[in-house]
C-alpha cells in the first residue's frame, strides 16, 4: 500500500478531553474505491476519530493528510469543501420538506434571488437517478421509509463532498431488505472511486461489504487488516482484547424436558396482530424466538405480557387458569418484559438509575406502599454490582448511560421484582460486543437459577447458543418448534425461508 493511493490518511492522531485520552496515537488511512470498516466497542474512540476528520474537534497531536498533503480541517464546513461528507445514524434531514429541498437545502439554485424550484427538482432527479432512485422529489421526505431517507442523506453528502463518505452506523434502524438497498448504493459509490468509512456494530455486514477493517480499543489502534485476511473470531478478539465467552449450552439442550411446564398458553391470539399459538414454558428453560422483523415476534411478547389484550385463547399457570389483560396482571403473575425499543418503551430517561431500577417493583407494591429510599439505594447498588452496570453514580439520569448499560438497568428493574418468567425482546440490539457477551452470560445464569425465559432475537447464532427450544415465526404465525439437535442455524433459516408454510420436522 503506497501513500499515493491513500486519499485520506491520519498519523499519530491524539485527542484528550478533560481527564482522559479519547484518541492516542491512532493511524488510519483510506484509499479511493475502498470500503473501510471502523470498529470498536462504545467509547473506543470511533466517534472522536470521526469528529476529528470532520473538523468538529481539533486534534492535539498528529497529522491529517489529503492526497498526501497535510491539511488542517477547521470546521465541518471546511471538511465538506475538502470532500469529506458524513451521514449519521439518526438521519438529520427535514422530514416535513420535500426530497429536493433536503438535497439542496442551503445551496438551492436561485434565479433573480428566488429559489428556482423547477431547476432544483430537475437536478434532484438527476442526482437520485445516479443511484436508480426514482422518487417524487416534490413530495415530503417523510412519505418515504427511513431507508430511503438514509439514501437521500447519502446522496446529499456525496453530491456536496464527493471524495470521502463517512457512514456512522447507517444500518442501525434498517431491516434486512433495506440494508441490502443501502449496500447496493455503497457498492456503486465504491465503483465510482469514493473512499467510504463504514461504522457498524454488525460484524456480518463488515464481511459483506467492507474491504478493510480498522479496530480501535480504548482510544488506541487495536489492529488493521484486509477483511479477507481476518477471520471473524480474530476480529472479535481484536475488538474485545479477549476471547468471546459464548459457550454453546449444548448440555442444557440435551437435558430431559422438565416434568411439567408451569406456564402454558393455549390458542392465544389477537386478530390482525398474531395468529393463535400454543406455548409451554417450564422453569429453567430458555425458549428462543426467531423470525424476521414483522413476523409477529414482538406482537407475541406484547400479548403474553398484557400490553395488548388477547382476544382468544387461555393462559394456565401452575395448572390454574389466569387472565392477563394488562401489564399489571402479568407483573402480578411474576412476568417481566424487556421491550424491543429501549428508548421509547424501556428507560425513563430523565429519572435516575436508582429510580429506574425501583420502578417495576414500586408499581407492583402499589402507590401508597413506597419503597424507602434507603432500600431503593441498596437495591440499585446491588444490581449495579451484580450486573456490572458501568456508572459513576446511581443518581445519574439513566439516559446518560450507554445502550448496553441501559439494557442492564431494565433487566435489573425486572430482576428486582423477583420474576419467574422473563421475556427479553432483542436484548442485544444496538449494544457493543462486550456488553453483548455479558448479556448472553446473564441469560445463561438466569436460566440456571430456574427462571423461565423467552428470548426474541434477530441474531440466529445467539439463539442457537442458548435456547432449549426455538420457536420460529413467519407472517404473524408461529410455524413450529425446534428442539434438541434440530436447533441449528441452517434449520432455523430454512424454516423462516420456507415458502409453503409447511412445518419441517
Amino acid at each position: 500500500m503506497t501513500d499515493k493511493a491513500n486519499v485520506l490518511a491520519v498519523e499519530g492522531i491524539g485527542k484528550s478531553f478533560v481527564g482522559f485520552k479519547a484518541l492516542d496515537g491512532v493511524d488510519f488511512s483510506i484509499r479511493a474505491g475502498e470500503v473501510h470498516a471502523l470498529l470498536g466497542e462504545n467509547g473506543a474512540g470511533k466517534s472522536t476519530l470521526i469528529k476529528v476528520l470532520t473538523g468538529v474537534h481539533q486534534p492535539d497531536a498528529g497529522v491529517i493528510s489529503l492526497d498526501g498533503q497535510p491539511v488542517h480541517v477547521r470546521d465541518t464546513h471546511h471538511a465538506q469543501s475538502l470532500g469529506i461528507g458524513t451521514v449519521y445514524q439518526e438521519v438529520n434531514l427535514l422530514p416535513n420538506m420535500s426530497v429536493a429541498d433536503n438535497l439542496f437545502i442551503g445551496r438551492q439554485p436561485t434565479r433573480y434571488g428566488f429559489i428556482d424550484r423547477r431547476l432544483m427538482e430537475r437536478r434532484a432527479r438527476e442526482v437520485l437517478a445516479q443511484y436508480d432512485l426514482h422518487l417524487d422529489v416534490a413530495s415530503d421526505l417523510s412519505r418515504y421509509s427511513v431507508a430511503i431517507q438514509q439514501l437521500v442523506a447519502i446522496a446529499r453528502a456525496v453530491d456536496m463532498s464527493g471524495r470521502i463518505l463517512i457512514l456512522d452506523e447507517p444500518t442501525a434502524s434498517l431491516d434486512r431488505h433495506e440494508v441490502e438497498i443501502l449496500f447496493a448504493m455503497i457498492r456503486r459509490l465504491k465503483a465510482r472511486g469514493l473512499g467510504i468509512v463504514f461504522i457498524t456494530h454488525f460484524l456480518d455486514q463488515v464481511y459483506e461489504v467492507c474491504d478493510h477493517v480498522t479496530v480501535l480499543r480504548n482510544g488506541k489502534l487495536a489492529g488493521s487488516a484486509p477483511t479477507s485476511e481476518l477471520p471473524k473470531l480474530d476480529l472479535v478478539k481484536m475488538m474485545l482484547g479477549r476471547t468471546l465467552a459464548v459457550a454453546t449450552h449444548g448440555d442444557r439442550r440435551h437435558r430431559p424436558p422438565p416434568e411439567e411446564r408451569q406456564l402454558s398458553f393455549k390458542g392465544v391470539g389477537r386478530s390482525r396482530s398474531i395468529a393463535p399459538f400454543d406455548l409451554d414454558i417450564g422453569e429453567g428453560e430458555v425458549i428462543g424466538m426467531a423470525g424476521l422483523l414483522g413476523s409477529g415476534r414482538t406482537e407475541t411478547a406484547k400479548l403474553l405480557f398484557g400490553i395488548d389484550a388477547a382476544d382468544k385463547g387461555e393462559a394456565w399457570i401452575d395448572g390454574r387458569a389466569v387472565r392477563i389483560r394488562t401489564p399489571q396482571d402479568a407483573v402480578a403473575l411474576g412476568f417481566g418484559l424487556c421491550p424491543e425499543d429501549r428508548k421509547s418503551d424501556g428507560i425513563i430517561g430523565d429519572l435516575s438509575i436508582r429510580e429506574n431500577i425501583a420502578l417495576a417493583l414500586q408499581a407492583h407494591r402499589g402507590w401508597f406502599n413506597r419503597l424507602p429510599k434507603r432500600e431503593q439505594t441498596a437495591m440499585a447498588d446491588r444490581f449495579v454490582k451484580a450486573l456490572d452496570i458501568r456508572t459513576t453514580d446511581i443518581e445519574k439520569p439513566v439516559k446518560l448511560l450507554s445502550g448496553g448499560n441501559q439494557q442492564k438497568v431494565i433487566l435489573a428493574r425486572w430482576l428486582a421484582t423477583n420474576p419467574r418468567f422473563l421475556i427479553l425482546d432483542e436484548p442485544t440490539r444496538g449494544i457493543d460486543v462486550g456488553a453483548h457477551a455479558e448479556i448472553i452470560t446473564l441469560i445463561n445464569e438466569l436460566c440456571d437459577k430456574g427462571l423461565a425465559l423467552l428470548v426474541i432475537s434477530s441474531e440466529i447464532d445467539e439463539i442457537v447458543a442458548y435456547s432449549n427450544r426455538v420457536v420460529v415465526l413467519r407472517d404473524r404465525t408461529h410455524l413450529g418448534e425446534l428442539s434438541g439437535d434440530e436447533i441449528t442455524t441452517s434449520n432455523i433459516m430454512q424454516m423462516i425461508a420456507t415458502e409453503t408454510g409447511e412445518v419441517p420436522a
Binding site: 401489564p327 429519572l351 408499581a363 443518581e395
Partner: protein, 338 residues
C-alpha cells in the same frame, strides 16, 4: 441533566432572588409594604395581602404541578372555579347548609377533573385539547347554574372561606398552606411523586413497567379539579357572590406560569410543589406591587410580562450551569491578576 447535580438551594436561587427583588421593589414603591399589624382578630398588611390574594393561585398551582409533571396541562381550571363558585353560592342562597354546599362544590370540581382525566387517559386526547373543551363549556355550565345573573349571598359560614381568620391568619392562606403540606407529604411519602414523574418522562415505558398510568392520570386530573374547586369557593366567598363570566378568568394561565416559574418543565418529569407555590407568590407579589405603585393599570400586563421574561431567562441560564461558568470566569480572572 446537569442541574441534577446542583444542590436544591442553588437551583431555587433564581426564584428566591426574583421574589426578594420584587418584594424590595414593592417596598421602594410603597414604604409601608413590610408593615404587619394585628387588628379585629386578624393580621393585616401588604405582605399578608400578597399571601391572601395569592392563595387561590397557589392552590391552582398545586394541582397544575401534578398535571404538568405528568406531561399534561389543564386549561379548564379557571372555568371549573366558576362552576364550583356558582354551585356553592346558588346552593347557599337556596338554603342548603354551608357544609353541604361546599362539599357539593368540591364534588363538582372532582367530576370536572375526572372528565378531563377520562378524555386524556382513556380517549388519548391531547391534554391541551381535552381541557380546552371544559374551559369553554365550564363557563356555560356556570351560567346555567346562576341562571345568567351574579348570585350574591350573605351567609357568614360561606363568607368565612374568603375573609375569615383562625388565630389571626386569614382562612385562604390556611387552606393553601394545609393543601400544600398535605400534598407534599402525599407525593413524597408515598410512591405517587416518583410514579407521576415517571409517566411524565415516558408514559409508554412506565406502562411497560407495570404502572397503571391511565388510572394515575385520572387521579391527577381529578385532584387538579378539586384544587380548582377549592380556589373557586375562596374567590366566590371573598366577593360574596358568584360571577359565572369573570370568576377565575385567565387564572389558568397564572397557574401554568406559576408552575413554569417554579421550574417544572412543560415536557413533564421532575417537579417541586414548593417551588410552584413560590412561583404563585411571585406572580401575586407583582400584581400587588403594580397596584400599590400607582402605575396606570394598562401597564400591568406589560410589566408582568417583562418580569416573567427576566425570571425565565435567569432560570434557563442557571440550569445551563451559567452561574458556575461565571464563577469560574471570575476565579480565572482573579488568578490572572495575581
Amino acid at each position: 441533566m446537569k442541574n441534577m447535580f446542583i444542590p436544591a438551594a442553588a437551583r431555587a436561587a433564581p426564584q428566591l432572588g426574583s421574589l426578594a427583588l420584587i418584594l424590595f421593589l414593592n417596598y421602594l414603591a410603597f414604604p409601608g409594604f413590610f408593615e404587619i399589624r394585628f387588628q379585629d382578630g386578624r393580621l393585616y398588611g401588604s405582605l399578608v395581602d400578597v399571601l391572601n390574594r395569592g392563595a387561590p393561585i397557589i392552590i391552582l398551582a398545586i394541582g397544575m404541578t401534578a398535571v404538568i409533571a405528568s406531561r399534561g396541562v389543564d386549561l379548564s381550571v379557571g372555568a371549573v372555579m366558576a362552576v364550583s363558585g356558582a354551585l356553592a353560592a346558588t346552593m347557599t342562597v337556596a338554603g342548603y347548609p354551608v357544609p353541604v354546599a361546599v362539599i357539593a362544590a368540591i364534588g363538582v370540581g372532582l367530576l370536572c377533573g375526572l372528565w378531563n382525566g377520562v378524555l386524556v387517559a382513556y380517549f388519548d386526547l391531547q391534554p391541551i385539547v381535552a381541557t380546552l373543551i371544559l374551559m369553554v363549556t365550564g363557563r356555560g355550565i356556570a351560567q346555567l347554574i346562576t341562571e345568567g345573573s351574579i348570585v350574591t349571598f350573605n351567609e357568614p359560614g360561606l363568607i368565612f372561606f374568603g375573609s375569615g381568620a383562625i388565630l389571626g391568619i386569614p382562612v385562604p392562606i390556611l387552606i393553601a398552606a394545609c393543601l400544600l403540606a398535605v400534598t407534599i407529604v402525599l407525593v413524597r411519602r408515598t410512591a405517587l411523586g416518583l410514579l407521576i414523574e415517571s409517566i411524565g418522562v415516558n408514559r409508554s415505558a412506565s406502562s411497560y413497567a407495570g404502572l397503571n398510568s391511565k388510572l394515575l392520570l385520572l387521579v391527577i386530573y381529578g385532584f387538579c379539579g378539586v384544587c380548582a374547586a377549592l380556589a373557586g369557593i375562596i374567590i366566590a366567598a371573598d366577593i360574596r357572590g358568584a360571577d359565572a363570566n369573570n370568576a377565575g378568568l385567565w387564572l389558568e394561565l397564572d397557574a401554568i406560569l406559576a408552575v413554569v416559574i417554579g421550574g417544572t418543565s412543560l415536557f413533564g418529569g421532575r417537579f417541586s410543589l414548593i417551588m410552584s407555590a413560590i412561583g404563585a407568590i411571585i406572580i401575586q407579589a407583582m400584581n400587588t406591587g403594580i397596584l400599590l405603585s400607582g402605575f396606570p393599570p394598562e401597564y400591568n400586563l406589560i410589566l408582568k410580562a417583562l418580569v416573567i421574561i427576566v425570571i425565565l431567562l435567569a432560570q434557563s441560564f442557571s440550569s445551563l450551569g451559567g452561574w458556575a461558568f461565571l464563577k469560574g470566569e471570575f476565579r480565572a480572572k482573579g488568578t490572572r491578576q495575581q
